[in-house]
């Protein structure tokens, strides 16, 4: 019978670990905090900012408990299991096992979220990515909604004459302006952007584009959906570009 409490605690640890797989990063942390209170009597799992954990071991005994450094993603943090019985050799091993499983689960959840973030966000501008836009369009746009396809005129010339960093700065400036006017914006590729908008958003779009040489075409959900909606806006954008060329 003497092993019972220990086996039961291992069972509770197992139960917590099995549940980690279906959770996101914060979900894993919350589950672990709750489980710690069941597995370790008077124990408490704390998340400490790395600056506050300088001098503590990357993994191992810390004063009054057990600690481990987690490098991220999403960001570095220090886990501290405060546990009064940590001096006991068996308790130390259970604490190490608990933290080991937690680190592995956090690593998996952290990288999953990072990959999803990278797929969702355009690396240069921080706007939505093309893949994210495709997902948005697959859901379909409601009546009164549409999209504007923008093409930043003259980017190639900026790249050729002032260098690629200057070109990147121009792309980021346009993205920042779209963000400042709270528009739902995505970067398709190169110098092409898409704004998903309602008819009431058009004046705001015009204000956001002030100061930028941009050609654009707009298409509405009543006309098409998905890729066809994008193609229609693209055709209108090129029509505008050509007519501007003729005007010049």
């Amino acid at each position: 019978m003497s092993l019972e409490p220990l086996l039961l605690r291992l069972l509770l640890l197992h139960e917590a670990v099995v549940g980690y797989g279906s959770l996101d990063f914060n979900g894993v942390l919350q589950r672990a905090k709750h489980a710690a209170e069941w597995i370790f009597e008077d124990g408490k799992l704390e998340v400490v900012r790395p600056e506050a954990a300088i001098g503590l071991p990357a993994r191992g005994r810390v004063p009054g408990g057990y600690g481990a450094y987690f490098p991220g993603p999403p960001e570095p943090l220090y886990l501290r299991l405060a546990y009064p019985k940590i001096d006991d050799a068996t308790e130390l091993r259970i604490a190490a096992l608990f933290v080991d499983h937690l680190l592995a689960a956090l690593e998996g959840a952290g990288y999953r979220e990072e990959l999803e973030r990278q797929a969702r966000i355009d690396w240069l501008t921080g706007l939505g990515s093309r893949r994210f836009l495709e997902r948005r369009l697959q859901e379909g746009l409601g009546e009164g909604w549409g999209l504007a396809l923008l093409d930043l005129d003259g980017l190639k010339q900026v790249n050729d004459t002032q260098g690629h960093l200057a070109g990147d700065r121009l792309l980021k400036a346009l993205a920042e302006s779209l963000r400042r006017y709270a528009l739902e914006a995505y970067r398709l590729a190169g110098d092409e952007f898409v704004v998903v908008l309602s008819r009431e958003d058009i004046p705001r779009l015009h204000r956001a584009l002030e100061g930028f040489a941009v050609s654009y075409g707009v298409s509405w959900a009543e006309e098409a959906q998905g890729e066809a909606l994008l193609a229609l806006a693209d055709a209108r954008m090129y029509q505008q570009k050509r007519s501007r060329g003729r005007d010049r």
Partner: protein, 160 residues
């Protein structure tokens, strides 16, 4: 019905629909029993393992065999030590367990046949939050419902 059956088989992880749910001829009843079990026992704040132990004790105290047998089997599969299983099988509260677990098992044992608001004091003293205390009450209530359901309908224990 098929959707609920699939949900039960997948979430319980046994690959089958236990008799306690399979015997329900009305889809409303089946959904009600399943959702109650799912949200009170499978999910929630208290560890599932401890809630299954509570279920065994409640069922033993009430003289009901279905839930006691099924959850003893589940605990055995999860690796619970024989001595602990035997104590639960006899309807006894094992000793020497962590404080919160001990308090929950003692509560389930007593509240199964003599529900008294005074019993909650032991749970609070052991450090359980109010939400956890409420969940413990719901576990006892749910197993009382399951006992009534399986006993009156003479639902046989699944082949384990």
């Amino acid at each position: 019905m098929e959707h609920i059956d699939q949900e039960i088989a997948e979430e319980l992880g046994f690959g089958l629909v236990p008799n306690v749910f399979a015997y329900a001829q009305s889809s409303e009843l089946k959904a009600a029993l399943w959702k109650a079990f799912r949200h009170v026992v499978l999910r929630g704040l208290l560890p599932r393992t401890v809630k299954e132990m509570m279920g065994v004790l409640v069922s033993r105290a009430r003289g009901s065999s279905y839930a006691a047998e099924v959850h003893l089997h589940a605990l055995m599969v999860q690796g619970t030590e024989t001595a602990l299983l035997e104590a639960l099988r006899r309807g006894e509260v094992p000793s020497g367990l962590p404080g919160k677990v001990q308090a929950l098992l003692a509560f389930a044992h007593k509240a199964a046949t003599a529900p008294d608001p005074g019993l909650l004091a032991g749970l609070r003293q052991a450090g359980l939050s109010e939400a956890e205390v409420q969940e413990a009450v719901a576990v006892v209530g749910l197993f009382a419902l399951v006992n009534t359901w399986t006993d009156l309908l003479e639902i046989p224990v699944d082949p384990l």
